[in-house]
Subunit: 193 residues, 2 copies
DNA sequence: TCGGATAGTTACAGACCGGTAACACCCTAG
DNA sequence: CTAGGGTGTTACCGGTCTGTAACTATCCGA
């Protein structure tokens, strides 16, 4: 086949990347380890040499997915160095772009919906990663000079989360198209106080 | 056993009720038809005599779940006859109560996350039922005399949806506790315009 | 009392699931 | 050249899944 990728990238990374993509598109319970390894150009034994179970693979995928999301914050700082308010607006527009282009929701939220066992190893990881997400947004709001930074950050968080779900229930032409208007309205409303 | 319920309620209704409850708690893909029929005090053959497939059962559960949600709107009208603004506030508090007591999200949203096949029979039903939900809230906002009724209704919808997801990712002590403050702030902000 | 509809029981088909065993292979470091 | 770690292959285990077949038991209305 001369895949190019198959040759140079190590199997573990191919599996992690492929699993992330397939979990995202088809859901965690909708994808079996056989399908993952086949799509990654490898086999089940190799997967189980690098991950002790499917649950462990799920956890690593969630961490990788969250890390990608966190990396975007570097772009905001690079594009608007020091201007925290501009970075907040950049976040709003980045969210809108995501809503318009990605028909599936947040990997962590989706995983929380699918993995209902209260003691599932992924649940504590999801809580940890979601907490970190929230903390970043709170810090950005505070540094942007907004009074009730926590309340604004939480409101924007829930709005974002809801919009990502709405895309899945009502399509990308539904209420989520109004996200920018809602978010900008909230920001200016909080700044006015 | 002398269940009481098992004797008087017909198997079809017992299956529908039990399936709703189990899908809600454990997710759709987390529950098999065998488990449903056993919990409903019946058997698989009887299920397949009343529902042509699990997918069909899922659709009927979603419709039943949505109908229960819609029934609550009657209470709002009964408690505050004619006072649409009071009914809107009643909706807000009802949502907050749901967030505090139900650790799982909206059945339709959860189903949309789990059933990723674009042509799954439940997807169009979810869209239809979610659209009806939205329309009711828009009508309530408009009848309450709010100018940008659609925008407020959509904002409240997304906030609600996001809060229900947040309960699943961060627990009921997370950002969702602020829902009432957020919603009331939005309503008074829209009324001021 | 009888007949038909409804419901329960057992067994099974065929597919898929996560996970493992045993063995052959190949590439690279020494 | 060689030894060994990483990888690929095949086959398999026990379990679960949706869905069906064939038969039996029960209840209700005429």
């Amino acid at each position: 086949m001369a895949d190019g990728i198959t040759d140079r990238v190590r199997p573990r990374d191919r599996i992690l990347e492929t699993a992330q993509d397939m979990f995202h598109k088809h859901g965690i319970k909708g994808v079996g380890v056989d399908a993952i390894t086949e799509a990654a150009g490898t086999n089940k034994m190799t997967l189980y040499r690098h991950f002790e179970s499917k649950d462990e693979l799920i956890v690593q995928c969630l961490r990788a997915s969250a890390a990608k999301g966190a990396a975007i914050w570097g772009e905001f700082e690079a594009e608007h160095p020091g201007d925290k308010l501009a970075q907040l607006h950049a976040w709003v527009h980045k969210v809108a772009e995501t809503l318009a282009t990605d028909g599936r929701g947040c990997d962590m939220a989706n995983a929380a919906v699918e993995l209902t066992e209260l003691d599932h190893p992924a649940r504590s990881v999801i809580k940890e990663l979601k907490g970190a997400q929230r903390d970043r947004l709170v810090a950005l709001c505070r540094d942007a000079g907004i009074g009730q930074a926590e309340l604004l950050a939480d409101t924007l968080s829930l709005l974002f989360e809801g919009a990502r779900v709405s895309v899945q229930t009502m399509g990308c032409q539904g209420p989520s198209t109004q996200f920018v208007r809602m978010a900008e309205g909230l920001i200016s409303s909080f700044r006015a106080r």
